[in-house]
Amino acid sequence: MELLWLISATILLHCLLRLARTALDRRRRQQCYLLDYELYKPSDDRKLSTHLCNAIISRNLRLSLPDLRFLLKVVVNSGISEETYAPRSVILGREECPTLADALDELDDALFSALDALFCRTAIRPRDVDLLVVNVSMFSPAPSLTARIVNRYKMREDVRTFNLAGMGCSASPIAVDLVNNAFKATPQATLAVVVTSESIAPNWYCGTDKSKMLGNCLFRCGGCAFVLTNDPELRRRAKMRLRCLVRTHIGASDEAYQCAIQTEDEDGRVGFHLGKTLPKAAVRAFAENLQRLAPRVLPPVDLAIYALRHWLTRWAAKGGDPAAARGISLKGGVEHFCLHTGGAAVIEAVGRALGLTKHDVEPARMALHRWGNTSASSVWYVLGYMEAKRRLRRGDRVLMLSFGAGFKCNSCLWEVLRHLDDGGAWADCIHRYPPQTLVNPFLEQFGWVNEA
């Protein structure tokens, strides 16, 4: 009889150990590691020089003199250089009538060259990929871009694919969120590949509506492919680990929803409208995001100090405007800031709100200068700058902050796992940054427009 009790006790112990092991495994696999990322660098014949820009602008015969002036003003004050890339069809003069082939070629170049380089560098076989996420906001053919990639790289039949579209410039954290949730839901070791880019060629605006012409001046070709995994065995090779992710969507407000929206102008031409209420929406979304982000990022002491200061200010102002985000500094919990390169004004405003120094906003300003607004992949170019400048040391925390149509503000905090020094797409030009002067070459040629 005693023997039997002993046996049952042993089996119970075995169950307990197995459960403990499962729980521990599950816990370990819930981490999300960034194994590596690859920035897309288009070929140099697609660089948009002042001369080429001038040619493209003048081709639109519908533009009157005030329109031209406005356009040039935007370009001059944009903070972008002559090194940014445009789609081939636009450079060749086909911006008015882009074909499906043009759109596909532009994306094939972006997605496949980034993925080829990524697979080569990480030595990952396409057949090992378990999860594939593609994010391209303004172009979604059938079959989807994920199917296009599965076909090209002959991925497995049970690969889980998700094609996100219409999610705007803040979609990078959304794609990371999707993968992170998938890791939590399926605790087996999973390898996920995420590719993000934007489609410019079929969305070039050829009308005269000022709010829609801004897109033409700011959006440029770019993309990024990165590998995420929850496999603890790959931790040694991983660059960063995801600490937290906060998504904010203020689309409930009509004003916010309509401030960045694809619409048709009076002549029926489709363009991306960037409204005057956009900065206000951005501030609101940013404030809400910070409210949820700060407690997860800042050490308790900083939080306490901030809360005290905020309460005192409110008490002193006797119920004045409770702007929760003003004056908060995240520098106690974050060393590097990857800000979405929406435009010079956006970077400036966010930098001020977070109390950032010139050194902190330099990566974002330089990324805008070198690559333009590459939509959702912009934060990765900013990260690439930091890495190329060898700023990322082990233990540092990196905050990616992006804004996008909807209106959304999404942020994610990464922890750097080892000293990073890969130049990547910045390797050939990093030595020239930051430039002595940020005088825009467009300013030299078209600066008269500011005085006119």
Binding site: E157, N163, I174, G251, A405
Partner: protein
């Protein structure tokens, strides 16, 4: 079961699953190892206890009372800990609280005569093209009550961004309003939102449009899937399931639709005209939950989602493809191999679904048949009469919802899976009444089964979707409570007229 000679080779897909079954068997044994060992021990213990005299029982009880409180407490604590850990490690159940489908207004109906008249009046089709479309309609399996969006009926059709958004608002908001009415859902309670629409994705996305209209919370997790074809409804369910596993106590809204307005093909290529003839307006909204208190009011529980992607195979990838014809008109090109490719994709999907859903007896019988045949053929003597065993899927499911892609797709699946006409009735009738509504068609079919009063507690439903890529996705649901015949919904007014007999060819002219 079809009879076959002993020398007939195993059906194609069966031969490729043999290793999978061996692997399955091993995994089954290993995962149940502890139970398999423990069970006999417990039985023996029980028998030993029963053999005890009453006096021995009393002495055992006295001994048990003698054990110190600490030890007893420790033992109880340990048991509770183990039980809790066990229950928490299991995946959260995903419940389908309810779903709603868009019912188009009668003014949107496009009987065949209307369709053909419109095709004749628009300037881009010549008489040959019109006749071709007529022949497609005759054999399509569609009825006279399918609906197209109002802007498609203009001459020429309006396909502006504004018109497309109008259709999206109409179908999506209508389905969501119905769902909110049925479930009492408060928009502020929605934690997760997934919208899928393959051929229309503006920026901001349709999911942002829903957030705006219903004033969802600022921390809602919204996703918008696009370009993923007619099987995207199940992909959205898969995504919602992942999110619900990661976030306890949450509601997920899944909206599946296809927007027809911008996709009217105005060229003459025959392979690109089929979508004009088959695709119709539709949308479905589904409320999923992982809250335990919703178990009592939920209709279904999600058991499995299995996805198969055949994109690596070039013909499969190219069989449903967006393209521009020689005149620059864009449309969806369907290849002639579509049926064969669909059949292949289904077989690949079954290989994964089969082991998950077939009853153990079926699987063991198949395994035994496999092993038996191997042993016999290893002995180099082909024993006559040992036939290969084909698993019977009708024993695994009570209801089948097959994507109503077209009559040919349903025919092909009925043949492949050896289903009776009752099993495919929901698909055929949904195709007849609503046309090919793409990713939402599965929900119209489920609505049909419910409207017919056939859904009972414990019934299992197999949803199979196909789509461009080429993908075949399956979802398996179990019904949690017998569903009363709904008094509202897309089928409420017409269910009494169904099923109808759909002839092979409807003579129109």
């Amino acid at each position: 079961m079809p009879s076959s000679s002993s020398s007939e080779p195993l059906p194609e897909f069966l031969s490729s699953v043999k290793l999978k079954y061996v692997e399955l068997g091993y995994r089954y044994v290993m995962s149940k190892l502890v139970t398999l060992v423990l069970f006999p021990v417990m039985v023996v213990l029980l028998l030993e206890t029963l053999k005890l005299d009453p006096s021995e029982v009393v002495s055992l009880w006295r001994r048990a009372q003698g054990i110190s409180a600490v030890n007893t407490l420790a033992a109880v604590f340990l048991l509770v800990l183990v039980a809790t850990a066990y229950f928490m490690s299991r995946p959260r159940p995903i419940f389908l609280v309810d779903f709603a489908c868009f019912l188009p207004a009668p003014s949107c109906r496009v009987p065949f005569a209307t369709y053909i008249e419109h095709a004749r009046l628009v300037p881009f089709f010549d008489e040959k093209t019109v006749r071709f479309q007529l022949r497609i309609l005759e054999r399509s399996g569609l009825g006279e009550e399918t609906c197209l969006p109002p802007d498609n009926r203009y001459i020429p059709p309006r396909n502006s961004l504004k018109a497309s958004r109008a259709e999206a608002e109409l179908v999506i908001f209508s389905a969501l309003d119905q769902l909110i009415g049925k479930t009492g859902l408060k928009p502020k309670d929605v934690d997760i939102l997934v919208v899928n629409c393959s051929l229309f994705s503006p920026t901001p996305s349709l999911s942002d449009m829903v957030v705006n209209k219903y004033k969802l919370r600022s921390n809602v997790l919204s996703f918008n899937l696009s370009g993923m074809g007619c099987s995207a409804g199940l992909i959205s369910i898969d995504l919602a399931r992942d999110l619900l596993q990661a976030h306890p106590n949450s509601y997920a809204l899944v909206v599946s639709t296809e927007i027809i307005t911008p996709n009217y093909y105005i060229g003459k290529e025959r392979s690109m005209l089929l979508p004009n003839c088959l695709f119709r307006m539709g949308a479905a909204a589904v409320l999923l939950s992982n809250r335990r208190r919703d178990r009592s009011r939920a209709k279904y529980r999600l058991l499995h989602v299995v996805r198969t992607h055949r994109g690596a195979d070039d013909p499969a990838y190219r069989c449903v493809h967006e393209d521009e014809d020689d005149d620059g008109n864009s449309g969806i090109r369907l290849s002639k191999d579509l049926m064969a490719i669909a059949g292949e994709a289904l077989r690949a999907n079954i290989m994964t679904v089969g082991p998950l859903v077939l009853p153990v007896t079926e699987q063991l019988r198949f395994l035994a048949s496999l092993v038996g045949r191997r042993l016999i053929t290893a002995g180099a003597v082909a024993r006559p009469g040992w036939k290969p065993y084909v698993p019977d899927f009708m024993r695994a499911f009570e209801h089948f919802c097959i994507h109503a892609g077209g009559r040919a797709v349903i025919d092909e699946l009925q043949r492949s899976l050896r289903l009776s006409s009752e099993h495919v009735e929901a698909s055929r009738m949904a195709l007849h009444r609503f046309g090919n509504t793409s990713s939402s068609s599965l929900w119209y079919e489920l609505g049909y089964i419910e409207a017919k009063g056939r859904m009972h507690r414990g019934d299992r439903v197999w949803m199979i979707g196909f789509g461009s890529g080429f993908k075949c996705n399956s979802a398996v649901w179990r019904c949690l409570r017998s569903v009363a015949t709904p008094v509202e919904g897309p089928w409420a007014e017409c269910i009494h007229r169904y099923p109808v007999d759909i002839p092979e060819v409807v003579k129109l002219l």
